[in-house]
């Protein structure tokens, strides 16, 4: 036995069958193919651009744009605006609708997700119908619906629908009262900010106290007092310095107040309701993932339903919820690019739409747009990963 096995030497395998060398060859081939593709695409692009007499490079950034944008968060106008300026206007509009949409869809999504788990039959059925319908109809169709079928047929400014608090709704958008800060008005904002900071300070102090002594403090009421009551007191103490300019009819249009464009409203409603449908499912799955034993054990320890939910179920559910929630936030941000279909001046509409059409510099414009979305995606997932790490189960 031993002699035979000693005689059989592992034969020197041919280089052809050496996995290491094969690996190098495969990788080299792939690199060569990808390199060739990139090289040929680039050389074709240079040739085609030359044939079409299109400039290249980022020189267009400072050229005059010559088009106006109706919604702008930074000063911009057609006569003095540049393409670079238009880019910032579009980017800020994207960020605006995405951030408001994220906040609103989180609230709506959590609400619907919890409602779907409700023991109340009719509530859970309505939540189910909402989720199924919203998730199975394309977002673009929903945006068309909100914009063309709901907001467009609204009456003209002369027959505006009056909403509470002096707001008016018509086919040119939503008009809300414009707050004017008189002398001392800034104090109210300062009081509000100080209230928020003080609440956080108090909360961490109360936690430490509870950990040390076991005594509980009414954090909720103190926070309410600091954030809500304090600014109100300051408001009256400084002699009510905030006045509102209400929108009023002047000729065929409304004057005064802040105009929120229907494109923005439609996009916001569409994105919020659509993403909320997905968030609701995420929340439902997260809550169902916490086993029933956890609730029962916490009841057995004497915790009431409120603290059970707050201290036992939600912290565990959040671990399951956060990763898919992040991807839904990212989806919302990416979906906000559908603004181009209803004419909301977001990054894609302004930059990949108008600027690209005017300059024809497709490569640069598309590359910049993609870089922006990639950055947003990476930054968001970075922050959510940090948060996720803090919430994650600490294992021994």
């Amino acid at each position: 036995m031993s002699t035979t096995s000693a005689e059989i030497k592992p034969g020197k395998a041919s280089l052809l069958y050496d996995p290491k060398i094969r690996g190098y060859v495969y990788q080299f081939l792939l690199l060569a193919v990808v390199g060739f593709l990139i090289w040929s695409a680039a050389s074709n692009a240079i040739e085609n651009l030359r044939a079409q007499k299109i400039a290249s490079g980022f020189g267009f950034w400072h050229n005059a744009s010559g088009f106006d944008i109706n919604q702008k968060l930074v000063p911009y106008d057609a006569s003095s605006g540049t393409y670079g300026r238009a880019f910032w206007v579009g980017l800020l509009n994207t960020l605006l609708v995405a951030s408001i949409g994220i906040v609103l869809s989180t609230f709506l999504g959590f609400f619907v997700g919890v409602a779907r788990l409700s023991s109340n039959w009719i509530v859970s059925k309505i939540a189910m119908i909402y989720v199924e319908v919203i998730r199975n109809v394309p977002l673009l169709l929903q945006l068309f619906f909100w914009y063309n079928a709901v907001l467009k047929p609204l009456p003209n400014p002369r027959q505006s629908i009056e909403l509470p608090a002096g707001a008016l709704l018509n086919n040119r958008g939503l008009y809300v009262p414009d707050p004017q800060f008189g002398p001392g008005g800034s104090l109210i904002i300062w009081a509000f900010l100080i209230g928020i900071v003080a609440t956080f300070v108090f909360r961490s102090w109360a936690r430490k106290q509870q950990a040390a002594t076991g005594r509980q403090y009414p954090t909720g009421w103190v926070g309410f007092g600091l954030i809500v009551i304090l600014p109100v007191l300051v408001y009256f103490a400084t002699g009510r310095p905030i006045t509102f300019v209400y929108p009023e009819l002047a000729g065929f249009n409304l004057r005064g107040g802040i105009q929120i464009f229907p494109e923005f409203v439609a996009l916001l409603i569409g994105l919020t309701t659509y993403t909320a449908g997905f968030i609701a499912e995420v929340v439902r799955a997260g809550i169902l993932a916490v086993s029933k034993g956890q609730t029962e054990a916490s009841h057995a320890l004497g915790l009431r339903p409120g603290p059970t939910l707050k201290l036992v179920v939600i912290p565990q559910a959040m671990r399951v919820i956060i990763p898919p929630l992040t991807s839904n936030y990212l989806n919302l941000t990416k979906n906000s690019s559908l603004a181009v279909a209803i004419g909301y001046p977001d990054l894609v509409q302004v930059f990949t739409g108008t600027v690209l059409n005017q300059t024809g510099q497709a490569v640069e414009v598309v590359a910049i747009t993609m870089a922006v979305y990639l950055t947003i995606s990476l930054v968001t997932s970075l922050f959510m990963n940090i948060y996720n790490k803090r919430m994650a189960l600490v294992e021994r």
Binding site: G23, N136, P138
Partner: protein
């Protein structure tokens, strides 16, 4: 009198026979208890129930009246749906849907050529059923049909013209050559000794001639039948070229979705394997592609395909306007598919890899025979979910000017023939129903598959 009865005698109140089973009390069973438990269990629930009832009563009858009771079902022009012409309140204008139904399906495809689209629809449905119906026979043949024959036939049938016919004749020649090769090999199997090995050859030679190399021969025969059918159609009624600019409606929607699935699934498998590869460059390139595509919105990919693709190829090969978004959608879906497949690959226990390796299988045989069949099976729900997303995303091609189903709806809405106050809500409702039925059906299927797959784990 026996002992027992005398003993029992003093206890006359002891019941001698079993009682009839009583129904549960009303407070714990029956409809009343159900209502109490599910609708009125606490003051908050009572309030919620009342609020929801109010919402339902407020909205549902109005919707029913609008879409059914007051709806107009027949008519040939807008006059049928105008309240002052009809003399009654008018709801949804279904007559408009009925009138433009052909347009919604085929777009502007020439009317006398629409049978070609119908054949493709039938083949597509056949392929889908073949793949998705779990107990359908000859799955391999089905996969070959869906991923190879269907794209060829769809291309030839939908586009037509001399280019497509030349392509068809090349495919047919190829299939005929393969058939001839297999015919020869069936009689002289020794020719493939170096390929299938001495031992397996012995097994093959024991078989009667018509059973040798049975699997591949089936595929070739099937391809011959389908391609022959196509060339019959090409010769007798003829397949004149129909420009892609005329395609539209559900045809284009299904086409984009089908191209998406047919190309994204194999590409996604390759990308997922690349991402799991131990070769650093292959892994890096796969990761870059996947993360890049997943980080940007589909619209920018479509814009890129629309504006940059023509720049990247020589001018004479400038891609067709419909082809550009197809490429974009396929690449976009491939990145998402890759992540789904990677999930399946990671879920495979390590023992499967090790077992395959210990049997002496190489990388590709291991993947093809052991890992992928299992991994793909467990991610069917994920694949279907990705496909639902893809199907909804097909609407975005509207933005780059392709006449998909949603675009045909929008196009008819600006057409004065049917311009009525209720046309828009009818059109959108119809579109919503179409997309809902497709997506909801797919999600039901994926849930059913999930249940079937979980059956093994259930205790």
């Amino acid at each position: 009198m026996t002992d027992a009865t005398t003993e029992m005698a003093p206890y006359a109140f002891v019941r001698k026979e079993t009682l009839e089973q009583q129904p549960a009390p009303l407070s714990v069973a029956g409809p009343l208890a159900w209502v109490r438990q599910h609708l009125l269990s606490s003051p908050l629930n009572i309030a919620l129930t009342l609020l929801c009832l109010y919402l339902v009563v407020d909205s549902v009858p109005g919707l029913i009246r609008f879409y059914f009771l007051d709806a107009v079902w027949t008519g040939t022009s807008r006059d049928a749906c105008l309240a002052d012409k009809v003399g009654r309140p008018v709801g949804a204008c279904w007559a408009y849907i009925a009138d433009r139904f052909q347009y919604f399906i085929y777009g502007s495809y020439p009317i006398n050529q629409r049978w070609r689209v119908n054949i493709v629809f039938v083949m597509f449905a056949l392929g889908i059923v073949w793949l998705l119906w779990t107990s359908a026979p000859k799955k391999k043949l089905g996969i070959f049909f869906f991923f190879v024959l269907l794209p060829i036939s769809a291309y030839v049938l939908l586009l037509g013209g001399p280019g497509a016919e030349r392509f068809l004749s090349i495919c047919l020649t190829l299939a005929l050559a393969l058939a001839a090769l297999y015919l020869i090999l069936s009689f002289v199997p020794q020719l493939v000794r170096f390929y299938i090995g001495e031992a397996a050859l012995g097994v093959v030679e024991q078989l009667p001639i018509w059973k040798r190399f049975f699997g591949p021969k089936q595929l070739v025969l099937f391809a011959l039948v389908v391609l022959g059918f196509l060339s019959l159609l090409a010769s007798n009624p003829g397949l004149p070229r129909v420009d892609t600019g005329l395609w539209g409606g559900m045809t284009v929607t299904f086409l984009i979705a089908a191209v998406g699935i047919v190309f994204s699934l194999p590409l996604g498998v390759v990308l997922a394997l690349g991402r799991r590869s131990r070769l650093p460059i292959i892994q890096l390139l796969s990761v870059i592609f996947i993360e890049f595509v997943r980080g940007v919105p589909l619209i920018t990919v479509l814009f890129m395909a629309n504006t940059m693709l023509p720049l990247f190829v020589p001018q004479e090969y400038s891609p067709d306007r419909l082809l550009r978004p197809l490429v974009g959608v396929a690449l976009f879906a491939a990145a998402y598919m890759a992540e789904v497949v990677r999930g399946g690959l990671q879920a495979m226990p390590k023992g499967q890899y090790e077992g395959a390796m210990s049997l002496g299988l190489g990388y590709w045989s291991m993947m093809r025979l052991i890992i992928l069949p299992q991994a793909l099976r467990i991610v069917i729900p994920g694949i279907v979910n990705t496909f639902i997303g893809l199907f909804k995303d097909t609407t975005l091609v509207t933005i780059v000017g392709i006449f998909d189903f949603l675009r045909t709806i929008e196009a008819t809405l600006v057409d004065p023939t049917w311009a009525t106050p209720t046309t828009r809500s009818t059109g959108y409702a119809f579109a919503a129903i179409f997309y809902f039925l497709c997506c909801w059906g797919m999600s039901r299927y994926s849930i059913a598959v999930e249940k079937r797959l979980a059956a093994g784990q259930k205790r």
